[in-house]
């Protein structure tokens, strides 16, 4: 009996591993041909993406840079807000406020990305347009703001957990030595929770770089080189927006983009594992 159950669990575990392997192999096999045909250098550093021209151009540098800038922007806005919120909730907030805010954050995490996109499209984009006096508000800035809000819940929740896990003795010791509560939180609690917070940030980066739906609805999707008010296309949206009608080399090139995106995400996951391991050691 014990053996059978063991077997079942092993099988279930193997299914997950099998899926990952299958997808990796499939992505590599279907992503390589277009890169070979276009040339790795031209593919990664080409500045123009025009797959339906008589002489098609397959350069994805605009997408790569947009994804990096967009994610960096979202982290730049989202991390300070998320981190401060977590510190406030963990240490300063009244229990009632804490429960209200925590619930709101959980709710934020549960909203589907298409809803973020829709609200962004209907509310944020027109606002940006009037605020900055530009004809169309969709673009990198709108995408950054939407992404920043989308990564907030994971940053807050994970940082909060890390901060709450800091032993009370540390803080008591600091307070007993005459430090003010705020000094204690920033000098003692936060450093003690730093690997947990780092994990939260990397997790947020992963979420931001992989988001497609919400971004597609607010970024404008023209394959331009990124600039703050420019209509841009991310790695994810490049795949999503052209997949339905593509054929031939165009479709293969989309798989190659997926491969590049996959490598980015692997990189982020490796970083995530690194922080998680360090946390365990500590």
């Amino acid at each position: 009996m014990e053996n059978i159950i063991h077997g079942i669990f092993l099988l279930l575990g193997l299914i997950t591993v099998g899926c990952v392997l299958l997808m990796t192999i499939y992505l590599i096999i279907s992503g390589i041909p277009a890169i070979r045909e276009v040339g790795l250098f031209h593919f990664l550093f080409g500045k123009e993406w025009a797959p339906v021209l008589a002489e098609p151009k397959y350069g994805i540098l605009p997408f790569i840079l947009t994804s990096i800038y967009g994610t960096a922007g979202a982290v730049f806005i989202g991390v300070p807000i998320g981190f401060m919120t977590a510190v406030y909730l963990a240490k300063l907030a009244h229990p009632k406020i804490k429960s209200v805010v925590s619930n709101a954050v959980s709710l934020l995490a549960g909203i589907p990305s298409v809803v973020y996109g829709l609200v962004g499209m209907m509310v944020l984009v027109p606002q940006i347009s009037t605020l900055f006096h530009i004809p169309d508000g969709s673009g990198l800035l709108a995408a950054i703001i939407v992404l920043a809000i989308m990564i907030l819940p994971s940053i807050i929740k994970m940082s909060l957990t890390a901060l709450e896990a800091v032993p009370k003795d540390y803080e008591d010791a600091s307070l007993a030595l005459g430090a003010t509560p705020v000094e204690t939180y920033f000098r003692v609690s936060v450093p003690a929770a730093k690997s947990g917070i780092a994990t939260a940030i990397v997790f947020g980066i992963g979420r931001a770089i992989g988001e497609a739906m919400a971004v597609m609805m607010v970024a404008g999707n023209a394959p331009n080189m990124p600039s703050i008010f420019q209509s841009v296309r991310f790695l994810t949206t490049a795949i999503a927006s052209e997949m339905s009608y593509s054929a031939g080399l165009q479709r293969q090139a989309l798989f190659s983009i997926a491969l590049v995106l996959f490598l980015f995400i692997m990189l982020i996951n490796t970083a995530l594992n690194f922080f998680l391991k360090r946390e365990k050691v500590e």
Binding site: V52, L53, M122, V125, P126, D136, M217, P223, Q250
Partner: protein, 267 residues
């Protein structure tokens, strides 16, 4: 309980028998225009459900490949979203217009522009005209909304306005609904969408003084339109199954499906 079961079995066998009555086996293969995907898939599905045992295939390759495929006998019916060229007709192909696809040019309801010439539309989309005041509107920059590369509507719009590969899109959206929503939200935007899917939240502009309607598309006075064509070989008869699909597609019975798919039927 047993009685109900028996009754059910009886009903099912009756249904099965009725299904048998209409049985034609065989395949219908179509090849060509990606823009016709929605139309031809809808027709194919209906045909398959009406004739059990028939396999309907559609290979989305593009109008020219579809025409080549039917010429070389690689498919029964070729699909083209442009009229045949003379040299293609000389090679023994005939065209049957299935439906007309009208593309509406839409602007925000707040926009004072009501009428644009085809030339102006082309100039707007290629970036030669960048301000609404140049075409009689307010002093505001024009925001160009379009569809993603590979979309049938984009292909249709660009080929009719002769702006292929030259459009300076501000936004490339992936569905007609997104284009309409975006245009309805931005007072400076202009976009294009299949005529049948246009809603009241946007204003349809006249092109060369003609308002796009089913009637003006049909009589050809509204110019931003293209035909959806079935291409067959003139000297060779279709297989029975393919012929019955062809007859069904061009018959009045198909009108509702065509209208649902957003095109204007001919009959």
């Amino acid at each position: 309980m047993k009685k109900i079961c028996l009754a059910l079995v009886f009903v099912f066998s009756l249904v099965a028998l009725v299904g048998c009555g209409n049985k034609t086996s065989g395949t219908v293969s179509t090849d060509g225009s990606t823009s016709m995907e929605k139309v031809i898939s809808a027709l194919g599905e209906k045909f398959e459900s009406d004739h059990s045992g028939v396999t309907f295939t559609y290979n989305p390759t593009g109008s020219s490949s579809g025409i080549a495929a039917v010429m070389e006998g690689r498919c029964d019916i070729g699909l083209s979203s442009r009229y045949l060229k003379d040299d293609e007709k000389e090679k023994g192909l005939t065209e049957t217009v299935l439906a007309l696809d009208g593309i509406a040019i839409i602007v925000n309801p707040a926009n004072s522009v009501n009428d644009l010439s085809l030339e102006d539309i082309a100039k707007i989309y290629t970036g030669e005209i960048t301000n609404w005041k140049e075409v009689g509107g307010n002093d505001a920059p024009i925001v160009l909304i379009g569809r993603e590369a590979g979309s049938g509507t984009r292909d249709g719009f660009e080929s009719i306005t002769k702006t292929e590969d030259a459009c300076q899109y501000r936004q490339e959206l992936t569905s007609t609904g997104d284009v309409i929503t975006t245009v309805s939200n931005n007072s400076n935007a202009i976009g294009y969408a299949s005529l049948a899917s246009v809603k009241d939240s946007v204003k349809v502009v006249m092109v060369d003084g003609i308002t796009p309607t089913e009637a003006t598309v049909k009589d050809g006075s509204y110019v931003v339109q293209r035909p959806f064509i079935l291409v067959t070989r003139a000297d060779e008869k279709l297989s029975d199954t393919a012929q019955s699909f062809f007859d069904f597609a061009v018959s009045k019975d198909a009108n509702e499906i065509l209208l649902d798919a957003g095109v204007v039927p001919i009959k």
